[in-house]
């Protein structure tokens, strides 16, 4: 078959809403785009464990500690699902981890902000996981089979994350005046970084056009961001807190809220590596990787011996 024929089969699959599977022919740029997106997504799950892990030893009750542990454990699993989805495109997890740990690969800029108080753990679960879920629900129907299937599992598991975050916020917002102040402070600091999670505005998003064309994404950054704001306002009002945006206003004609754009210069700067915690996150990741090396080596040696004995038996 000619390359042209393969391309026609691929286009036809997309047109019929069928999934592309690892062994199917796919254009190089489609593969490249997926690899970048899925590995970034995987890295975000792994680095995302760090700001929350920071509070496991300081959770205010045994219940909240158990819940946070379960949540962080889920994120580790999500990283694995995504790495194996990316591996099916022909790269190894070792290569991807190396790209992450040497700073060549990116992860979501949100995790370069610090979790300063217990209310931040609430804000992260509620807002950050909330924004991630909005994106992931869409990705359950992405055109690449292994990615879509990983997303189905992830969405099922994520559904408790946002609720646990909101529960923490409720306790804080309805607690003492000091606790409410911490909740408001957390909202103030996390609001705009959360809006950045959906990516740059459509007019300036270099990868969006292909992502939509290839049905990797089905909605644009701006559409998802708008939906997130529309859904979240009511949740903020219930808490009796205020969104730190004077321009936030209901717009009847578009049946949605008008709101201020995040500071895109800050977004670019954090992605470049200059956020408050970029260095700390990469250092922590590298430290864990290096200190775990002897365990991997010992396990590999033991595994090899087991396999040899099995083959000899």
């Amino acid at each position: 078959m000619e390359n042209k024929d393969f391309e026609a089969i691929f286009e036809n699959k997309l047109a019929k809403n069928e999934m592309v599977e690892p062994k199917d022919w796919m254009p190089d740029n489609y593969r490249k785009h997926l690899l970048r997106q899925i590995s970034q997504h995987a890295h975000s799950e792994i680095i995302g464990m760090l700001p929350e892990g920071n509070w496991i030893s300081r959770a205010p009750s045994l219940r909240s500690k158990l819940v946070l542990l379960a949540k962080v454990q889920d994120e580790g699993g999500h990283g694995l699902y995504l790495y194996t989805a990316a591996e099916s495109l022909g790269t190894s997890r070792d290569e991807m981890l190396d790209a992450l740990q040497t700073g060549r690969a990116k992860y979501s800029s949100i995790f370069n902000y610090p979790t300063l108080s217990w209310a931040d753990i609430g804000a992260v679960g509620w807002l950050v996981d909330g924004a991630a879920i909005m994106n992931q629900v869409m990705l359950q129907r992405t055109s690449y089979g292994p990615y879509a299937r990983a997303m189905v599992r992830i969405c099922k598991e994520e559904s408790f994350h946002q609720r646990q975050g909101y529960e923490v916020m409720t306790h804080m917002a309805f607690g003492t005046p000091e606790q409410k102040e911490m909740a408001q402070d957390a909202l103030n600091r996390w609001w705009f970084p959360t809006l950045m999670m959906f990516g740059p505005p459509d007019s300036e998003s270099p990868n969006s056009e292909n992502a939509i064309k290839w049905r990797i994404k089905r909605e644009t950054n701006d559409q998802l961001r708008q939906r997130f704001v529309n859904q979240t306002v009511e949740q903020v009002q219930y808490l009796g807190l205020t969104i730190p945006d004077k321009n936030l206003k209901w717009n009847e004609s578009k049946k949605g809220y008008d709101f201020s754009e995040p500071d895109w210069a800050e977004f670019k700067n954090v992605i470049k590596g200059n956020g408050p915690c970029n260095k700390e996150r990469l250092d922590a990741r590298n430290k864990a990787h290096n200190e775990g090396r002897w365990v991997r080596e010992a396990a590999a040696a033991y595994g090899k011996k087991q396999m040899e004995q099995y083959a000899a038996a």
């Binding site: 078959m1 599977e21 454990q73 699993g77 694995l80 991997r296 595994g303």
Partner: protein, 95 residues
Amino acid sequence: MSDSQGPLWEVFVQKKAGQPFVHCGNLHAYDKEMALQNARDLYTRRGEGMALWVVPTAAIVASSPEDQGSFFEPSNDKVFRHPTFYPMPDVIKHM
């Protein structure tokens, strides 16, 4: 020894006794025991199943999508394998 994440294994879960084992994903592990333990931790944290299979990915033999047409062709012209091929008298209500 070079640093490595270990080989890939495919994981199959049986939801309830008597049901088929269904593929649910994969993982990295260095040996059978670790593969089984990781599979439990990763894929059955919320009561997804009561039995697991783990199989080295390298041991799986798969058909390839390019041959799809010719490989599965022989079954297409054997309509007599389907019950609808056989006309039934109208008076027979159940069969």
